[in-house]
Symmetry: C2
Subunit: 273 residues, 2 copies
Amino acid sequence: MERLASFERLCLNQATTKKWSLQEAVEGCARAEIPWIGLWRDKIAEIGLKESRQFIRDAGLRVSSIISGGWFSASSAAERHKRLDDSRRAIEEVAELGAGVLVIVGGGVPDRDIDSARKWVAEGIEQLVPYAQSYGVKLGIEPLHPMYAAERSVVVTLAQANELAKRYRPDVVGVIVDVFHVWWDPDLYNQITLAGEHILGFHVSDWIVPTPDLLLGRGMIGDGVIELRRIRKALDAVGYQGPIEVEIFNQSIWDQPGDEVLAVIMERYLEHI
Amino acid sequence: MERLASFERLCLNQATTKKWSLQEAVEGCARAEIPWIGLWRDKIAEIGLKESRQFIRDAGLRVSSIISGGWFSASSAAERHKRLDDSRRAIEEVAELGAGVLVIVGGGVPDRDIDSARKWVAEGIEQLVPYAQSYGVKLGIEPLHPMYAAERSVVVTLAQANELAKRYRPDVVGVIVDVFHVWWDPDLYNQITLAGEHILGFHVSDWIVPTPDLLLGRGMIGDGVIELRRIRKALDAVGYQGPIEVEIFNQSIWDQPGDEVLAVIMERYLEHI
Protein backbone atom coordinates (compact mmCIF):
# COMPACT_ATOMS: atom_id res chain seq x y z
CA MET A 1 0.00 0.00 0.00
CA GLU A 2 1.64 3.21 -1.13
CA ARG A 3 1.35 6.11 1.25
CA LEU A 4 1.04 9.68 0.12
CA ALA A 5 4.47 11.29 0.18
CA SER A 6 3.51 14.79 1.22
CA PHE A 7 0.74 17.12 2.31
CA GLU A 8 0.47 18.88 -1.03
CA ARG A 9 -3.07 17.56 -1.63
CA LEU A 10 -4.30 17.87 1.97
CA CYS A 11 -7.34 20.11 2.35
CA LEU A 12 -9.17 21.20 5.49
CA ASN A 13 -12.90 21.44 5.03
CA GLN A 14 -13.71 24.12 7.56
CA ALA A 15 -16.71 22.15 8.89
CA THR A 16 -14.10 19.98 10.66
CA THR A 17 -13.11 22.95 12.83
CA LYS A 18 -16.58 24.35 13.18
CA LYS A 19 -15.82 26.64 16.11
CA TRP A 20 -13.23 28.47 14.05
CA SER A 21 -14.27 31.47 11.99
CA LEU A 22 -13.12 31.55 8.38
CA GLN A 23 -10.19 33.74 9.41
CA GLU A 24 -9.20 31.35 12.20
CA ALA A 25 -9.46 28.33 9.87
CA VAL A 26 -7.30 30.07 7.26
CA GLU A 27 -4.71 31.00 9.87
CA GLY A 28 -4.81 27.46 11.29
CA CYS A 29 -4.10 25.99 7.86
CA ALA A 30 -1.27 28.45 7.33
CA ARG A 31 0.32 27.53 10.69
CA ALA A 32 0.04 23.81 9.90
CA GLU A 33 1.14 24.34 6.29
CA ILE A 34 -2.02 22.73 4.94
CA PRO A 35 -2.23 24.12 1.40
CA TRP A 36 -5.97 23.73 0.66
CA ILE A 37 -9.19 24.77 2.33
CA GLY A 38 -12.85 23.97 1.59
CA LEU A 39 -15.30 26.70 2.56
CA TRP A 40 -18.88 26.91 3.77
CA ARG A 41 -21.09 29.75 2.69
CA ASP A 42 -22.35 30.58 6.18
CA LYS A 43 -18.75 31.07 7.30
CA ILE A 44 -18.03 33.29 4.28
CA ALA A 45 -21.16 35.32 5.01
CA GLU A 46 -20.06 35.94 8.62
CA ILE A 47 -17.13 38.08 7.52
CA GLY A 48 -18.03 38.97 3.95
CA LEU A 49 -16.81 37.83 0.58
CA LYS A 50 -14.07 40.41 0.02
CA GLU A 51 -12.58 39.92 3.48
CA SER A 52 -12.66 36.14 3.00
CA ARG A 53 -10.82 36.50 -0.28
CA GLN A 54 -8.20 38.72 1.31
CA PHE A 55 -7.50 36.35 4.23
CA ILE A 56 -7.16 33.39 1.86
CA ARG A 57 -4.92 35.32 -0.53
CA ASP A 58 -2.71 36.62 2.28
CA ALA A 59 -2.26 33.10 3.61
CA GLY A 60 -1.46 31.71 0.16
CA LEU A 61 -4.18 29.07 0.45
CA ARG A 62 -6.02 27.43 -2.42
CA VAL A 63 -9.78 26.88 -2.18
CA SER A 64 -11.00 23.41 -3.20
CA SER A 65 -14.69 24.17 -3.35
CA ILE A 66 -17.53 25.99 -1.67
CA ILE A 67 -20.43 24.25 0.05
CA SER A 68 -23.19 24.36 -1.07
CA GLY A 69 -25.67 25.17 -3.80
CA GLY A 70 -28.56 23.16 -5.13
CA TRP A 71 -31.30 22.10 -2.71
CA PHE A 72 -33.48 22.03 -5.80
CA SER A 73 -36.36 19.89 -4.59
CA ALA A 74 -39.24 21.96 -3.31
CA SER A 75 -42.86 21.36 -4.09
CA SER A 76 -43.68 24.92 -5.16
CA ALA A 77 -42.30 26.47 -8.32
CA ALA A 78 -41.76 29.74 -6.46
CA GLU A 79 -39.57 28.04 -3.87
CA ARG A 80 -37.61 26.19 -6.54
CA HIS A 81 -37.04 29.51 -8.32
CA LYS A 82 -35.76 31.02 -5.08
CA ARG A 83 -33.33 28.19 -4.55
CA LEU A 84 -32.00 28.49 -8.10
CA ASP A 85 -31.39 32.17 -7.46
CA ASP A 86 -29.52 31.31 -4.30
CA SER A 87 -27.38 28.84 -6.23
CA ARG A 88 -26.57 31.58 -8.75
CA ARG A 89 -25.32 33.73 -5.84
CA ALA A 90 -23.23 30.74 -4.74
CA ILE A 91 -21.70 30.49 -8.21
CA GLU A 92 -20.72 34.16 -8.00
CA GLU A 93 -19.08 33.50 -4.62
CA VAL A 94 -17.12 30.57 -6.03
CA ALA A 95 -15.88 32.72 -8.89
CA GLU A 96 -14.96 35.58 -6.57
CA LEU A 97 -12.94 33.25 -4.32
CA GLY A 98 -11.32 31.39 -7.21
CA ALA A 99 -12.56 28.08 -5.87
CA GLY A 100 -13.49 26.52 -9.17
CA VAL A 101 -16.11 24.12 -7.81
CA LEU A 102 -19.52 24.63 -6.23
CA VAL A 103 -20.63 21.55 -4.31
CA ILE A 104 -24.20 20.71 -5.31
CA VAL A 105 -26.50 19.06 -2.76
CA GLY A 106 -29.72 17.88 -4.39
CA GLY A 107 -32.32 18.44 -1.68
CA GLY A 108 -34.74 16.12 0.11
CA VAL A 109 -38.20 14.68 -0.42
CA PRO A 110 -41.16 17.02 -0.19
CA ASP A 111 -44.68 15.56 -0.01
CA ARG A 112 -43.67 11.88 -0.17
CA ASP A 113 -42.67 12.35 -3.81
CA ILE A 114 -39.11 11.15 -4.35
CA ASP A 115 -39.53 10.81 -8.13
CA SER A 116 -40.48 14.46 -8.56
CA ALA A 117 -37.67 15.49 -6.24
CA ARG A 118 -35.19 13.65 -8.45
CA LYS A 119 -36.66 15.28 -11.56
CA TRP A 120 -36.30 18.73 -9.97
CA VAL A 121 -32.64 18.05 -9.20
CA ALA A 122 -31.94 17.21 -12.84
CA GLU A 123 -33.86 20.28 -14.00
CA GLY A 124 -32.12 22.51 -11.49
CA ILE A 125 -28.67 21.43 -12.66
CA GLU A 126 -29.72 21.97 -16.27
CA GLN A 127 -30.80 25.50 -15.43
CA LEU A 128 -27.65 26.33 -13.47
CA VAL A 129 -25.18 25.08 -16.06
CA PRO A 130 -25.18 28.13 -18.38
CA TYR A 131 -24.74 30.48 -15.43
CA ALA A 132 -21.90 28.38 -14.00
CA GLN A 133 -20.21 28.22 -17.39
CA SER A 134 -20.41 31.96 -17.79
CA TYR A 135 -18.39 32.27 -14.55
CA GLY A 136 -16.05 29.38 -15.32
CA VAL A 137 -17.35 27.54 -12.24
CA LYS A 138 -17.83 23.76 -12.15
CA LEU A 139 -20.78 22.10 -10.43
CA GLY A 140 -19.78 19.12 -8.29
CA ILE A 141 -22.75 16.88 -7.51
CA GLU A 142 -22.24 15.19 -4.16
CA PRO A 143 -24.31 12.08 -3.51
CA LEU A 144 -25.15 11.94 0.19
CA HIS A 145 -25.67 8.86 2.32
CA PRO A 146 -29.15 7.33 1.94
CA MET A 147 -29.89 8.23 5.56
CA TYR A 148 -30.08 11.86 4.35
CA ALA A 149 -32.45 11.14 1.45
CA ALA A 150 -35.53 12.54 3.16
CA GLU A 151 -34.05 15.80 4.39
CA ARG A 152 -31.00 16.62 2.29
CA SER A 153 -30.37 14.71 -0.91
CA VAL A 154 -32.40 12.40 -3.08
CA VAL A 155 -29.12 11.79 -4.92
CA VAL A 156 -27.85 8.93 -2.76
CA THR A 157 -25.48 6.93 -4.94
CA LEU A 158 -22.46 7.69 -7.07
CA ALA A 159 -24.32 5.96 -9.94
CA GLN A 160 -27.05 8.63 -9.75
CA ALA A 161 -24.53 11.46 -9.54
CA ASN A 162 -22.63 10.03 -12.50
CA GLU A 163 -25.80 9.74 -14.53
CA LEU A 164 -26.56 13.42 -13.86
CA ALA A 165 -22.99 14.64 -14.39
CA LYS A 166 -22.30 12.73 -17.57
CA ARG A 167 -24.90 14.74 -19.43
CA TYR A 168 -22.24 17.49 -19.41
CA ARG A 169 -18.54 17.88 -20.09
CA PRO A 170 -16.28 17.29 -17.06
CA ASP A 171 -15.15 20.91 -17.08
CA VAL A 172 -18.80 21.90 -16.45
CA VAL A 173 -20.42 19.29 -14.18
CA GLY A 174 -18.83 16.51 -12.16
CA VAL A 175 -19.17 14.56 -8.94
CA ILE A 176 -17.77 14.76 -5.43
CA VAL A 177 -16.77 11.44 -3.86
CA ASP A 178 -17.19 11.59 -0.08
CA VAL A 179 -16.21 8.30 1.54
CA PHE A 180 -18.69 8.73 4.40
CA HIS A 181 -21.57 8.87 1.93
CA VAL A 182 -20.55 6.11 -0.49
CA TRP A 183 -18.34 3.57 1.30
CA TRP A 184 -21.19 1.04 1.79
CA ASP A 185 -22.08 0.88 -1.92
CA PRO A 186 -21.51 -2.56 -3.52
CA ASP A 187 -21.02 -0.76 -6.85
CA LEU A 188 -18.55 1.85 -5.51
CA TYR A 189 -15.37 0.93 -7.37
CA ASN A 190 -17.17 0.40 -10.64
CA GLN A 191 -18.80 3.81 -10.29
CA ILE A 192 -15.47 5.49 -9.47
CA THR A 193 -14.11 4.05 -12.71
CA LEU A 194 -17.17 5.27 -14.60
CA ALA A 195 -16.90 8.73 -13.01
CA GLY A 196 -13.34 9.08 -14.29
CA GLU A 197 -12.47 12.62 -15.21
CA HIS A 198 -15.82 13.82 -13.87
CA ILE A 199 -14.46 13.51 -10.32
CA LEU A 200 -14.15 17.06 -8.99
CA GLY A 201 -13.52 16.41 -5.32
CA PHE A 202 -12.65 13.79 -2.74
CA HIS A 203 -13.82 14.10 0.86
CA VAL A 204 -12.58 11.90 3.68
CA SER A 205 -13.67 11.09 7.22
CA ASP A 206 -14.55 7.71 8.72
CA TRP A 207 -17.54 5.60 9.74
CA ILE A 208 -17.15 4.84 13.42
CA VAL A 209 -18.66 1.97 15.40
CA PRO A 210 -20.88 2.37 17.27
CA THR A 211 -22.18 5.27 15.21
CA PRO A 212 -23.05 7.98 17.71
CA ASP A 213 -25.39 10.18 15.68
CA LEU A 214 -27.00 10.60 12.27
CA LEU A 215 -25.51 14.04 11.67
CA LEU A 216 -22.55 14.41 14.00
CA GLY A 217 -21.36 10.82 13.93
CA ARG A 218 -18.46 11.06 11.51
CA GLY A 219 -15.12 9.89 12.78
CA MET A 220 -11.51 11.01 12.49
CA ILE A 221 -9.78 9.30 9.56
CA GLY A 222 -8.49 5.94 10.71
CA ASP A 223 -10.97 5.55 13.56
CA GLY A 224 -13.59 3.63 11.58
CA VAL A 225 -14.28 0.87 9.08
CA ILE A 226 -13.84 2.67 5.74
CA GLU A 227 -11.07 1.45 3.44
CA LEU A 228 -9.71 4.95 2.95
CA ARG A 229 -6.51 4.06 1.12
CA ARG A 230 -8.26 1.64 -1.19
CA ILE A 231 -10.74 4.32 -2.22
CA ARG A 232 -7.99 6.92 -2.63
CA LYS A 233 -6.06 4.54 -4.86
CA ALA A 234 -9.17 3.88 -6.93
CA LEU A 235 -9.38 7.63 -7.51
CA ASP A 236 -5.67 7.72 -8.33
CA ALA A 237 -6.27 5.01 -10.90
CA VAL A 238 -8.76 7.13 -12.83
CA GLY A 239 -6.46 10.14 -12.72
CA TYR A 240 -7.89 12.25 -9.89
CA GLN A 241 -5.05 14.33 -8.50
CA GLY A 242 -7.00 17.12 -6.81
CA PRO A 243 -7.30 17.98 -3.13
CA ILE A 244 -8.11 15.38 -0.49
CA GLU A 245 -10.49 17.17 1.81
CA VAL A 246 -11.01 16.21 5.43
CA GLU A 247 -14.63 16.89 6.37
CA ILE A 248 -15.71 15.64 9.78
CA PHE A 249 -18.93 16.56 11.59
CA ASN A 250 -18.41 15.41 15.12
CA GLN A 251 -19.17 17.30 18.32
CA SER A 252 -16.28 15.78 20.26
CA ILE A 253 -13.84 16.85 17.53
CA TRP A 254 -15.40 20.30 17.42
CA ASP A 255 -14.81 20.55 21.16
CA GLN A 256 -11.05 20.04 20.74
CA PRO A 257 -8.63 22.91 20.03
CA GLY A 258 -8.39 23.36 16.25
CA ASP A 259 -4.60 23.17 16.09
CA GLU A 260 -4.65 19.81 17.85
CA VAL A 261 -7.27 18.52 15.42
CA LEU A 262 -5.10 19.57 12.47
CA ALA A 263 -2.09 17.80 14.00
CA VAL A 264 -4.06 14.55 14.33
CA ILE A 265 -5.38 14.91 10.78
CA MET A 266 -1.85 15.29 9.38
CA GLU A 267 -0.62 12.22 11.23
CA ARG A 268 -3.60 10.12 10.19
CA TYR A 269 -3.49 11.40 6.62
CA LEU A 270 -0.13 9.79 5.93
CA GLU A 271 -1.04 6.68 7.87
CA HIS A 272 -4.49 5.96 6.42
CA ILE A 273 -5.14 7.81 3.16
CA MET B 1 -55.25 4.21 -5.16
CA GLU B 2 -56.86 0.99 -4.02
CA ARG B 3 -56.95 0.48 -0.29
CA LEU B 4 -56.69 -2.89 1.35
CA ALA B 5 -60.18 -4.19 2.12
CA SER B 6 -59.48 -6.00 5.36
CA PHE B 7 -56.93 -6.84 8.03
CA GLU B 8 -56.39 -10.39 6.83
CA ARG B 9 -52.74 -9.66 5.89
CA LEU B 10 -51.93 -7.41 8.84
CA CYS B 11 -49.05 -8.65 10.98
CA LEU B 12 -47.63 -7.24 14.21
CA ASN B 13 -43.91 -7.56 14.45
CA GLN B 14 -43.49 -7.78 18.18
CA ALA B 15 -40.59 -5.30 18.16
CA THR B 16 -43.28 -2.63 17.68
CA THR B 17 -44.63 -3.37 21.16
CA LYS B 18 -41.28 -4.01 22.74
CA LYS B 19 -42.45 -3.74 26.33
CA TRP B 20 -44.88 -6.60 25.81
CA SER B 21 -43.74 -10.15 26.46
CA LEU B 22 -44.49 -12.70 23.76
CA GLN B 23 -47.61 -13.73 25.67
CA GLU B 24 -48.81 -10.13 25.96
CA ALA B 25 -48.16 -9.49 22.26
CA VAL B 26 -50.07 -12.63 21.29
CA GLU B 27 -52.98 -11.65 23.52
CA GLY B 28 -52.89 -8.09 22.18
CA CYS B 29 -53.14 -9.37 18.60
CA ALA B 30 -55.99 -11.66 19.57
CA ARG B 31 -57.91 -8.77 21.21
CA ALA B 32 -57.38 -6.56 18.14
CA GLU B 33 -58.09 -9.45 15.76
CA ILE B 34 -54.73 -9.06 14.06
CA PRO B 35 -54.19 -12.48 12.45
CA TRP B 36 -50.39 -12.52 12.05
CA ILE B 37 -47.42 -12.01 14.33
CA GLY B 38 -43.67 -11.75 13.66
CA LEU B 39 -41.47 -12.99 16.49
CA TRP B 40 -38.06 -12.16 17.90
CA ARG B 41 -35.87 -14.90 19.28
CA ASP B 42 -35.06 -13.07 22.52
CA LYS B 43 -38.77 -12.83 23.28
CA ILE B 44 -39.23 -16.53 22.50
CA ALA B 45 -36.29 -17.38 24.76
CA GLU B 46 -37.83 -15.45 27.67
CA ILE B 47 -40.70 -17.88 28.02
CA GLY B 48 -39.45 -20.93 26.14
CA LEU B 49 -40.24 -22.44 22.77
CA LYS B 50 -43.01 -24.81 23.80
CA GLU B 51 -44.85 -22.18 25.81
CA SER B 52 -44.54 -19.74 22.93
CA ARG B 53 -46.03 -22.30 20.58
CA GLN B 54 -48.88 -22.97 22.95
CA PHE B 55 -49.81 -19.30 23.38
CA ILE B 56 -49.76 -18.75 19.62
CA ARG B 57 -51.79 -21.86 18.94
CA ASP B 58 -54.37 -21.03 21.60
CA ALA B 59 -54.80 -17.56 20.14
CA GLY B 60 -55.17 -18.92 16.61
CA LEU B 61 -52.37 -16.66 15.32
CA ARG B 62 -50.15 -17.32 12.33
CA VAL B 63 -46.44 -16.59 12.55
CA SER B 64 -44.96 -14.67 9.60
CA SER B 65 -41.31 -15.17 10.41
CA ILE B 66 -38.76 -15.24 13.18
CA ILE B 67 -35.99 -12.68 13.58
CA SER B 68 -33.14 -13.40 13.16
CA GLY B 69 -30.41 -15.73 11.97
CA GLY B 70 -27.31 -15.02 9.96
CA TRP B 71 -24.80 -12.50 11.31
CA PHE B 72 -22.29 -14.44 9.25
CA SER B 73 -19.48 -11.93 8.99
CA ALA B 74 -16.86 -12.45 11.67
CA SER B 75 -13.14 -12.38 11.10
CA SER B 76 -12.37 -15.67 12.84
CA ALA B 77 -13.46 -19.01 11.43
CA ALA B 78 -14.35 -20.16 14.95
CA GLU B 79 -16.74 -17.26 15.44
CA ARG B 80 -18.30 -17.81 12.01
CA HIS B 81 -18.80 -21.46 12.91
CA LYS B 82 -20.52 -20.43 16.16
CA ARG B 83 -22.87 -18.10 14.33
CA LEU B 84 -23.79 -20.81 11.83
CA ASP B 85 -24.62 -23.08 14.72
CA ASP B 86 -26.79 -20.39 16.21
CA SER B 87 -28.60 -19.99 12.89
CA ARG B 88 -29.24 -23.74 12.86
CA ARG B 89 -30.90 -23.39 16.27
CA ALA B 90 -32.97 -20.55 14.81
CA ILE B 91 -34.08 -22.80 11.94
CA GLU B 92 -35.23 -25.37 14.48
CA GLU B 93 -37.21 -22.68 16.31
CA VAL B 94 -38.87 -21.57 13.09
CA ALA B 95 -39.88 -25.14 12.33
CA GLU B 96 -41.17 -25.71 15.85
CA LEU B 97 -43.32 -22.57 15.68
CA GLY B 98 -44.54 -23.23 12.14
CA ALA B 99 -43.31 -19.85 11.00
CA GLY B 100 -41.94 -20.90 7.64
CA VAL B 101 -39.40 -18.10 7.30
CA LEU B 102 -36.22 -17.25 9.17
CA VAL B 103 -35.18 -13.64 8.58
CA ILE B 104 -31.50 -13.55 7.69
CA VAL B 105 -29.42 -10.51 8.67
CA GLY B 106 -26.01 -10.60 7.04
CA GLY B 107 -23.76 -9.07 9.68
CA GLY B 108 -21.44 -6.05 9.67
CA VAL B 109 -17.89 -5.20 8.69
CA PRO B 110 -15.07 -6.64 10.80
CA ASP B 111 -11.54 -5.29 10.31
CA ARG B 112 -12.37 -2.75 7.58
CA ASP B 113 -12.95 -5.60 5.14
CA ILE B 114 -16.38 -5.25 3.55
CA ASP B 115 -15.55 -7.54 0.63
CA SER B 116 -14.70 -10.47 2.89
CA ALA B 117 -17.81 -9.77 4.97
CA ARG B 118 -19.93 -10.03 1.83
CA LYS B 119 -18.21 -13.26 0.85
CA TRP B 120 -18.89 -14.73 4.31
CA VAL B 121 -22.57 -13.87 3.99
CA ALA B 122 -22.83 -15.76 0.71
CA GLU B 123 -20.92 -18.71 2.16
CA GLY B 124 -23.04 -18.72 5.31
CA ILE B 125 -26.26 -18.87 3.35
CA GLU B 126 -24.86 -21.66 1.20
CA GLN B 127 -24.02 -23.63 4.34
CA LEU B 128 -27.41 -23.05 5.97
CA VAL B 129 -29.51 -24.00 2.97
CA PRO B 130 -29.38 -27.82 3.35
CA TYR B 131 -30.26 -27.55 7.05
CA ALA B 132 -33.13 -25.16 6.33
CA GLN B 133 -34.43 -27.43 3.57
CA SER B 134 -34.36 -30.43 5.85
CA TYR B 135 -36.72 -28.55 8.18
CA GLY B 136 -38.86 -27.05 5.40
CA VAL B 137 -37.81 -23.56 6.54
CA LYS B 138 -37.20 -20.70 4.09
CA LEU B 139 -34.38 -18.19 4.54
CA GLY B 140 -35.49 -14.60 3.96
CA ILE B 141 -32.52 -12.31 3.33
CA GLU B 142 -33.33 -8.81 4.58
CA PRO B 143 -31.21 -6.01 3.16
CA LEU B 144 -30.77 -3.36 5.85
CA HIS B 145 -30.37 0.37 5.36
CA PRO B 146 -26.80 1.38 4.43
CA MET B 147 -26.51 3.22 7.75
CA TYR B 148 -26.35 -0.24 9.35
CA ALA B 149 -23.64 -1.58 7.02
CA ALA B 150 -20.83 -1.33 9.55
CA GLU B 151 -22.58 -2.94 12.48
CA ARG B 152 -25.41 -5.10 11.19
CA SER B 153 -25.60 -5.90 7.50
CA VAL B 154 -23.24 -5.59 4.58
CA VAL B 155 -26.26 -6.54 2.47
CA VAL B 156 -27.64 -3.03 1.96
CA THR B 157 -29.67 -3.14 -1.25
CA LEU B 158 -32.45 -5.27 -2.61
CA ALA B 159 -30.22 -5.87 -5.65
CA GLN B 160 -27.65 -7.58 -3.43
CA ALA B 161 -30.28 -9.63 -1.62
CA ASN B 162 -31.78 -10.67 -4.95
CA GLU B 163 -28.40 -11.71 -6.27
CA LEU B 164 -27.89 -13.91 -3.19
CA ALA B 165 -31.43 -15.32 -3.15
CA LYS B 166 -31.67 -16.11 -6.83
CA ARG B 167 -28.96 -18.72 -6.53
CA TYR B 168 -31.72 -20.84 -4.95
CA ARG B 169 -35.34 -21.76 -5.57
CA PRO B 170 -37.91 -19.37 -4.04
CA ASP B 171 -39.16 -22.10 -1.72
CA VAL B 172 -35.67 -22.22 -0.20
CA VAL B 173 -34.20 -18.70 -0.14
CA GLY B 174 -35.89 -15.37 -0.73
CA VAL B 175 -35.82 -11.73 0.32
CA ILE B 176 -37.61 -9.55 2.86
CA VAL B 177 -38.63 -6.10 1.64
CA ASP B 178 -38.64 -3.63 4.54
CA VAL B 179 -39.65 -0.16 3.37
CA PHE B 180 -37.51 1.58 6.00
CA HIS B 181 -34.39 -0.08 4.63
CA VAL B 182 -35.01 0.26 0.88
CA TRP B 183 -37.31 3.25 0.22
CA TRP B 184 -34.43 5.55 -0.83
CA ASP B 185 -33.12 3.20 -3.54
CA PRO B 186 -33.36 4.61 -7.09
CA ASP B 187 -33.55 1.02 -8.34
CA LEU B 188 -36.26 -0.12 -5.88
CA TYR B 189 -39.18 -0.83 -8.21
CA ASN B 190 -37.00 -2.58 -10.73
CA GLN B 191 -35.58 -4.78 -7.98
CA ILE B 192 -39.04 -5.60 -6.62
CA THR B 193 -39.96 -6.80 -10.10
CA LEU B 194 -36.77 -8.84 -10.30
CA ALA B 195 -37.37 -10.30 -6.84
CA GLY B 196 -40.77 -11.58 -7.93
CA GLU B 197 -41.70 -14.86 -6.30
CA HIS B 198 -38.57 -14.68 -4.13
CA ILE B 199 -40.29 -12.10 -1.90
CA LEU B 200 -40.90 -13.83 1.43
CA GLY B 201 -41.93 -10.89 3.58
CA PHE B 202 -42.95 -7.24 3.59
CA HIS B 203 -42.19 -4.98 6.55
CA VAL B 204 -43.65 -1.51 6.97
CA SER B 205 -42.93 1.54 9.10
CA ASP B 206 -42.08 5.07 7.99
CA TRP B 207 -39.13 7.43 7.63
CA ILE B 208 -39.89 10.47 9.74
CA VAL B 209 -38.49 13.97 9.39
CA PRO B 210 -36.51 15.06 11.27
CA THR B 211 -35.10 11.59 11.89
CA PRO B 212 -34.64 11.34 15.64
CA ASP B 213 -32.20 8.46 15.91
CA LEU B 214 -30.23 5.90 13.92
CA LEU B 215 -31.79 2.91 15.65
CA LEU B 216 -35.00 4.08 17.25
CA GLY B 217 -36.02 6.63 14.63
CA ARG B 218 -38.65 4.67 12.72
CA GLY B 219 -42.05 6.25 12.47
CA MET B 220 -45.65 5.08 12.63
CA ILE B 221 -46.97 4.25 9.16
CA GLY B 222 -48.25 7.46 7.59
CA ASP B 223 -46.06 9.79 9.65
CA GLY B 224 -43.17 9.97 7.18
CA VAL B 225 -42.08 10.33 3.58
CA ILE B 226 -42.23 6.72 2.34
CA GLU B 227 -44.67 5.92 -0.47
CA LEU B 228 -46.12 2.96 1.39
CA ARG B 229 -49.05 2.24 -0.90
CA ARG B 230 -46.96 2.52 -4.02
CA ILE B 231 -44.49 -0.02 -2.66
CA ARG B 232 -47.29 -2.34 -1.51
CA LYS B 233 -48.86 -2.19 -4.96
CA ALA B 234 -45.50 -2.97 -6.56
CA LEU B 235 -45.40 -6.11 -4.41
CA ASP B 236 -48.99 -6.90 -5.37
CA ALA B 237 -47.99 -6.62 -9.01
CA VAL B 238 -45.40 -9.38 -8.69
CA GLY B 239 -47.82 -11.61 -6.82
CA TYR B 240 -46.80 -11.17 -3.18
CA GLN B 241 -49.87 -11.89 -1.08
CA GLY B 242 -48.26 -12.68 2.27
CA PRO B 243 -48.41 -10.83 5.56
CA ILE B 244 -47.79 -7.08 5.79
CA GLU B 245 -45.75 -6.74 8.93
CA VAL B 246 -45.60 -3.55 10.98
CA GLU B 247 -42.14 -3.25 12.52
CA ILE B 248 -41.38 0.03 14.27
CA PHE B 249 -38.44 0.71 16.56
CA ASN B 250 -39.29 3.94 18.30
CA GLN B 251 -38.98 4.76 21.97
CA SER B 252 -42.01 7.07 22.03
CA ILE B 253 -44.17 4.32 20.50
CA TRP B 254 -42.74 1.77 22.94
CA ASP B 255 -43.76 4.10 25.75
CA GLN B 256 -47.43 4.03 24.69
CA PRO B 257 -49.87 1.33 25.86
CA GLY B 258 -49.71 -1.57 23.40
CA ASP B 259 -53.44 -1.70 22.73
CA GLU B 260 -53.44 1.96 21.73
CA VAL B 261 -50.50 1.38 19.37
CA LEU B 262 -52.39 -1.48 17.72
CA ALA B 263 -55.46 0.71 17.29
CA VAL B 264 -53.41 3.40 15.54
CA ILE B 265 -51.72 0.78 13.35
CA MET B 266 -55.09 -0.59 12.21
CA GLU B 267 -56.37 2.85 11.32
CA ARG B 268 -53.19 3.83 9.47
CA TYR B 269 -52.97 0.45 7.75
CA LEU B 270 -56.17 1.00 5.78
CA GLU B 271 -55.34 4.65 5.18
CA HIS B 272 -51.73 4.35 4.02
CA ILE B 273 -50.81 0.81 2.97
